[in-house]
């Protein structure tokens, strides 16, 4: 009988501790509550039985409301792609997917190595590069600083649709532009109904730690519910700054914030697809910066994944993530442990590829390296098949003591299915290495990026749709100016 190895899970919390944290969050929601800076949101929550102080905008949420909301939050959904082959079904215990880190508007120039602002022309290239990398399953925005400020998010989506057929993860600068982007996605999907059935875009919004929900996040939670767009409820207290110094305390806080998000979403739109985006950070106590590669982030995020599994919701964690300013050893080592911890924690999505320097910078060669780091992580959690044929007792017997397996039929048969193959990591002789120009990982990553940029042609939008989108965008930009 064929069976798969166990899914390897990294865990820190015991079942009792998970219950403790859950109970702690219920109590915090009941007693301390959260601040909701949204008139309608306050009324809505009050109507549902929350205790609301309209003056301080404080909402105290009784535990029944939390249970009610948790009962409807889905345990699986698909980040659909314009090309269905690139869909990312997020299912309990399923394989992880990944995306790049979003929001950068600086780059390290691939050719000159210069640190410089990103431009609209770069943005197209970045989407095209990420479209070609299998270790980047869907795509978050990068912005050009020469793009007009008003509607920059909308222009970003236009560029993304033209250069990739993967799911596009949005970032909205205003509630108005968010709505316009959803309408744009509906246009590409065919209709609002088709978009709901196959959401080809997804979104991230974050409450302000500690415990504060601005109007934009309430709008986003509701609009996503209305359109059926999957939303990352991104909880990111900075330990020692906007969250407690202790890891347990930070987990306690972000779990509470996540549950408040679930309540606001699910009471209005039962069944709306949400991800538990557990993205705790840590304040560097020498500079105050919020760290990306501190190992405790991985530990806290793992606890977050356990809470997500407890609530039966998909979970998204920081994956390849680093504080390094450049493509050096620190960058690779931080990314590798962060990503492996996240994958082993059972994350459905690994976030961060390509991102550097406090999430301000994206880099081509880093994307290529992170593509590899992601695919290795996918391989790690995939495990292997165990059955009689693969256990190979018969083959071991046949080859016997002192023999070898190289020319055996068994080797021939499994040759291509058992191994992760790489075109980036060097595995040849010194002679070949020297003859090949004695390249480093970084050299090869740059070359691969250059080749992709030269050769890769993304799957274009149908021409009429492309024109329709352009029309939509220019109208949208005008409407924003008013």
């Amino acid at each position: 009988m064929t069976s798969k190895t166990l899914k390897p899970y990294l865990k820190y919390l015991s079942d009792v501790q998970i219950e403790e944290i859950h109970e702690g969050s219920l109590r915090l929601l009941e007693n301390t509550g959260v601040m909701v800076d949204h008139q309608e949101g306050l009324k809505f929550l009050e109507k549902h039985g929350a205790k609301v102080d309209h003056q301080t905008k404080r909402v105290r949420i009784p535990r029944q409301l939390v249970s009610q909301a948790l009962a409807t939050v889905p345990d699986r959904f698909t980040l659909a792609a314009r090309n269905p082959e690139k869909d990312c079904p997020l299912v309990p215990g399923g394989r992880p997917y990944s995306r790049n880190g979003g929001g950068a508007d600086f780059t390290i120039d691939l050719e000159t190595g210069e640190f410089r602002p990103l431009l609209q022309a770069d943005v197209k290239e970045y989407y095209r590069l990420m479209d070609a990398l299998d270790g980047i399953s869907f795509i978050a925005p990068v912005f050009g600083q020469d793009m007009p400020v008003l509607g920059r998010d909308i222009l970003m989506l236009r560029e993304a649709f033209g250069n990739t057929d993967k799911n596009i993860h949005l970032r909205a600068f205003t509630g108005e532009s968010l709505k316009l982007m959803f309408e744009m996605a509906a246009l590409v999907a065919g209709s609002k109904k088709e978009l709901k059935a196959r959401p080809i875009v997804s979104l991230l919004e974050a409450p302000i730690s500690p415990l504060k929900f601005l109007d934009v996040i309430v709008d986003a939670l509701w609009l996503c519910g209305e359109y059926g767009i999957p939303l990352d409820v991104c909880v990111m207290p900075i330990a020692g700054g906007t969250g407690p110094m202790t890891m347990a305390g930070n987990v306690q806080l972000f779990n509470t914030e996540f549950l408040a998000g679930v309540v606001i979403s699910q009471l209005a739109h039962p069944g709306a697809p949400l991800q538990y985006a557990a993205r705790p950070m840590a304040m560097d106590m020498r500079t105050g910066f919020s760290l990306a590669g501190s190992v405790e982030l991985g530990i806290m995020a793992t606890a977050g994944a356990q809470m997500a599994h407890f609530y039966h919701v998909p979970v998204s964690l920081h994956g390849p993530w680093s504080d390094s300013m450049t493509h050096d050893g620190q960058s690779v080592l931080e990314r590798m442990y962060m990503n492996l911890m996240a994958a082993l924690a059972g994350a459905n999505v690994l976030v961060g590829a390509g991102m550097m320097q406090q999430s301000l910078v994206i880099s081509h060669e880093q994307l290529v390296i992170d593509d590899e780091i992601n695919r290795i992580a996918f391989r790690v959690v995939e495990g292997f098949e165990v059955d009689e044929e693969r256990l190979a007792a018969e083959v071991i017997d046949r080859v016997g003591p002192g023999g070898n397996f190289v020319a055996d039929m068994h080797t021939y048969k499994f040759l291509r299915s058992e191994r992760y193959e790489t075109d980036l990591l060097y595995r040849n002789s010194r002679v070949a290495w020297e003859e090949g120009g004695a390249t480093t990982l970084l050299d090869r990553a740059k070359d691969k990026a250059r080749t992709i940029l030269k050769e890769h042609q993304p799957n274009p939008l149908p021409e009429d749709l492309s024109k329709e989108l352009d029309k939509f965008v220019s109208k949208a930009l005008k409407s924003l100016e008013k």
Binding site: M283, M285, F289
Partner: protein
């Protein structure tokens, strides 16, 4: 240095709030002058703290605790310090610029400057140029500090400087700016007086500018 001032410095370094307050009273009882206690005990103590912070031996929360201890002593001295303002090293109006809600960095810089003895007027986040101008008129600060974390809100720093010029009060204040995407070149380009990359450097830079 007298024993009592030495102990005050040690307690200050250890962040012992009540002890520093008590030592300040005791020093006064022993007949030491308020100005001397301030300079040698409290400010002297904070200088050691600042040095060790820069060396990486002390962490921000420790520095803030030391500052709290320093302030407990300062409150005792304040009524005795001859000229008004002698207890303050300068007044700074600070805020995160219009359209930007990122206030964590700005808050940290405020706390560290306060700890170093500066008086801080915090306008919060999403502060429009007019509000900075109004605050300069109302508070007559020595300096304004602006923070921005978004490249899309950085231009508001320039607008604020322009607004100060138009109001004819640009030369009344120094301007320092900061935030992750901000650079010293940008500071020069928009006519700010200075830039600092982190809270520790901010304290040093402000000290130099207001010296």
């Amino acid at each position: 240095m007298s024993n009592i001032l030495e102990r005050m410095q040690k307690d200050l370094y250890a962040g012992k709030v009540a002890e520093v307050e008590a030592a300040t009273r005791q020093a006064l009882d022993q007949g030491l002058g308020a100005q001397e206690i301030l300079n040698k005990g409290l400010i002297g103590g904070m200088e050691v703290v600042g040095r060790d912070f820069k060396a990486g031996d002390l962490f921000i929360p420790e520095v803030l605790m030391c500052a709290k201890a320093m302030h407990s002593g300062l409150e005792v001295l304040r009524p005795l310090l001859a000229e008004a303002g002698a207890a303050s090293m300068g007044k700074i109006v600070i805020g995160t610029v219009a359209g930007d809600l990122h206030d964590i960095g700005k808050n940290l810089v405020s706390m560290m400057l306060q700890g170093a003895g500066f008086e801080i007027i915090d306008l919060g986040a999403d502060v429009k140029p007019e509000r900075f101008v109004q605050a300069v008129r109302d508070e007559s600060p020595d300096m304004i500090g602006m923070s921005a974390m978004l490249t899309t809100t950085m231009p508001s720093m320039k607008s604020t400087i322009t607004a100060l010029k138009e109001a004819g009060i640009r030369d009344k204040v120094k301007v320092i700016i900061g935030g992750a995407p901000v650079t010293s070149k940008f500071a020069q380009d928009i006519g700010a007086d200075s830039y600092a990359p982190d809270a520790g450097a901010a304290v040093d830079t402000v000290r130099t500018l207001l010296a």
